[in-house]
């Protein structure tokens, strides 16, 4: 079906002569401490202008708001009570065995061997504080804490089937050799179609060049590169071509943001979620690791500790272009009906 159904390695399917491994992030929110170093590093490296008016948004420690044209990493803060934690634990438990057939060990197989792969960060977020031996099969829930903070660094998903890329009329959005999705800012004419095409609300057109500084200091002009064009995370394309790590992953002090080959990221995510479940933290679940989902799996995989809605992530995103053939068919029928009605009008009107 051509560009509408790209496979797991979109970079190879996009006409790049040489083959790179598909790159991606694994954002393990269970060890995120909400320091926002990723936001700062991203802003500095990519020279993204200030977003908004430096307001206090009243949403815990999140005063960034959301991803957008000028914000390519966004750390979410959620405060939850005991009841909500228990619900998350229960909803995560129901996911066990659902989905991802064929990935990871089969039921009854030896439990995770890759637990060592998650480095020093493992366990930092475990409320029990025990180093429970993974794979013992003891899934007795740990004592549920009375309160928890969820912190999660959100980013562009670099979808396998990217809505923004599909609908871009200028070819400004492209698939890189690393399987990521990047806007060529010298091509984009700011038509805004990609903004509606993204099921995660990530990409946005960079518009206004003026901001107001805190208080009554008046409007301030700031240097806004690429104004009027669509902007989003590039997975630090300029760093990747030099063999470097994206700024956010390099700066993350807890290795909550990891960067590497996408297949390795999914493996790490799989073993980490298994490890957490073995400790009784059944609230852990993966987001974006399933190649069968509505966007064909994401390049940025997340480990979440509650339903995606809680983090502001859509629970069942689907790339709009999946429905495009059906829509063209419907539009064709409608257009034919219009022609038929016109013909009828002239035949009937002949008196």
């Amino acid at each position: 079906m051509g560009p509408l159904s790209e496979h797991e390695d979109p970079g190879a399917g996009s006409g790049w002569g040489h083959s790179h491994e598909r790159k991606g992030f694994f954002t393990d929110t269970s060890i995120c401490i909400g320091c926002k170093a990723c936001e700062v590093a991203c802003k500095e490296w990519n020279r993204n202008p200030q977003d908004g008016d430096l307001e206090i948004l009243g949403s815990s420690y999140d005063n960034t708001g959301s991803l957008g044209a000028n914000t390519w990493r966004h750390v979410a803060f959620i405060e939850q009570d005991q009841e909500r934690i228990e619900q998350a634990r229960e909803s995560g438990r129901r996911l066990v065995g659902l989905g991802m057939p064929g990935i990871g060990p089969k039921p009854g197989a030896e439990a995770p061997s890759g637990a060592g792969g998650c480095g020093s960060g493992c366990g930092a977020g475990a409320p029990t504080g025990t180093d429970g031996e993974p794979g013992t099969g003891d899934r007795t829930p740990p004592d549920t804490p009375e309160f928890r903070w969820l912190m999660s660094s959100d980013v562009c998903k670099h979808c396998t089937r990217a809505g923004c890329l599909d609908v871009c009329p200028t070819g400004a959005l492209m698939r890189t050799e690393f399987g990521t999705v990047v806007v060529q800012s010298d091509i984009c004419n700011g038509c805004g179609t990609c903004v509606g095409g993204c099921p995660f609300g990530v990409i946005e057109r960079r518009d206004d060049g003026t901001i107001s500084a805190k208080g009554d200091r008046g409007r301030v002009e700031q240097d806004v590169p690429h104004h009027g064009t669509a902007n989003k995370c590039t997975l630090c394309y300029d760093r990747l071509v030099d063999g470097q790590t994206p700024a956010c992953a390099q700066t993350c002090p807890t290795t909550s943001i990891r960067f590497g080959d996408r297949a390795d990221m999914v493996d790490e995510a799989e073993s980490r979620v298994r490890q957490l479940h073995d400790r009784g933290m059944t609230e852990a679940r993966l987001y974006g690791a399933n190649g069968n989902d509505g966007v064909g799996g994401t390049g940025s995989v997340f480990l979440l500790l509650d339903e995606p809605e809680v983090y502001g992530l859509p629970p069942d995103p689907q790339v709009p272009t999946a429905q495009l053939p059906a829509m063209f068919r419907t539009a064709g029928i409608a257009a034919a009906g219009m022609i038929a009605a016109t013909a009828l009008a002239f035949l009937g009107g002949r008196r």
């Binding site: 996911l95 991802m100 809505g163 599909d166 064009t229 709009p320």
Partner: protein
């Protein structure tokens, strides 16, 4: 109840709602209670939070973004439809020997694209780069296909209308030796605009349907029918204004067919949508526009049926129809942009379809997965 002297400075508690509602895109009252109760940790200050489980969001913030499309795009949706349907009317008039209707329809088509194309360009973030639209032809992008349809249509309509203008002015355009060329090109050019007329009127529905915007996405199966009907009634309405009743007979028939199609398609579309997705089409400013659009369309249709042979009634009915079409387009555009503001419109339909698939036994296509075993 007051615990300390400073409690009097506290703002009044928001009313308890069953469901969280946004307040100015800010945090919800329910969330605020959570924070208050949890932050103090004494457990005695606020009420329980059981009511919140039915829906959670991230501080009521939007999940998806609407395209940055303003009034110029609404105008284009309207005049693009007028142009496409006018080309069809012009072709029919040419085939059935109605010179006044043919001329007026072709001039309308040219005027419509002459208004619509600058409107499209004006709404770009970088208008000076509008020609980048023609770098590629991309079947997965309705915007790309539409740009090519519009370009082809405008070329054809331009040549056909130029020939009409020349005839209208008694061959006084300074064309010189080019006049025979124009005469020769007129037929093929009109044919091009006729072939592309219906696609021009229909593709904008695909453009809106092919987004993650809940109201447009939910309407994607019915919207093409709404848009072609709306285009037909608008172009017929304008033809009824510009053309003497003796030659406007087909326009009157098409207008009535368009009204019937428009009203029927709009109702069926709204009914087939998830209630949360349909809500922006029925409430607020967009809902008001669409209600007026329906009233004006019906009024224009009735006027056409009963008094279409009177020049004045026909013109008034035509004006009502054109206004109805414009209101429909602006209403649909506005409803979509409104629909992203409430995350429930994205979250709840998605959660429901996910649970439905799970209940039917499809468990391997969720973006959220647990451990494999």
């Amino acid at each position: 109840m007051t615990h300390s002297t400073f409690d009097g400075y506290r703002p009044p508690e928001p009313p308890r709602g069953r469901r969280r509602r946004r307040r100015d895109g800010d945090r919800s009252p329910a969330r605020r209670r959570d924070l208050g109760a949890l932050g103090t940790g004494d457990g005695g200050r606020e009420m329980p939070m059981v009511e919140d489980v039915e829906f959670s969001s991230y501080y009521g913030r939007p999940v998806v973004k609407a395209p940055p499309w303003g009034a110029p795009i609404g105008l284009y949706l309207f005049v693009g439809g007028v142009a496409g349907a006018s080309a069809l009317l012009g072709a029919g008039a040419a085939l059935t020997d109605r010179p006044a209707l043919r001329r007026n329809a072709r001039l309308t088509a040219l005027a419509a694209v002459a208004v619509g194309t600058p409107a499209l360009i004006e709404d770009l973030g970088r208008p000076e780069r509008f020609l980048h639209m023609l770098r590629v032809l991309k079947p997965t992008s309705p915007m790309s296909l539409g740009t090519w349809i519009l370009s082809g249509f405008a070329s054809g309509a331009g040549v056909a209308a130029a020939a009409e203008i020349d005839r209208l002015l008694g061959e006084r355009l300074p064309l010189g030796p080019l006049r025979p060329v124009l005469r020769c090109a007129e037929g093929p050019a009109a044919a091009v605009s006729t072939v592309l007329g219906a696609p021009l009127a229909a593709y904008t529905a695909v453009l809106l349907g092919d987004t993650a915007v809940p109201t447009w996405q939910g309407a994607r199966q019915g919207l093409p029918f709404v848009f072609v009907s709306s285009a037909a009634l608008a172009a017929s309405g304008i033809a009824m204004i510009t053309t003497p009743v003796a030659q406007a007979g087909p326009a009157r028939v098409l207008a009535v067919l368009g009204v019937a199609g428009d009203v029927l398609a709009m109702h069926r579309t709204t009914e087939s949508m998830h209630p949360l997705e349909a809500e922006p089409l029925e409430t607020g400013s967009a809902g008001r526009k669409l209600r007026w659009a329906e009233r004006l369309a019906v009024a224009g249709g009735v006027a056409t049926l009963l008094g279409g042979r009177n020049r004045w009634i026909a013109a008034a009915g035509g004006a009502a129809l054109a206004t109805a079409s414009a209101l429909t387009r602006f209403g649909v555009l506005e409803a979509g942009i409104e629909s992203v503001k409430d995350p429930r419109r994205v979250m709840i339909p998605q959660r429901e379809r996910l649970e439905k698939r799970r209940a039917e036994g499809t468990t391997d296509d969720s973006i959220t997965t647990g451990p494999g075993s």
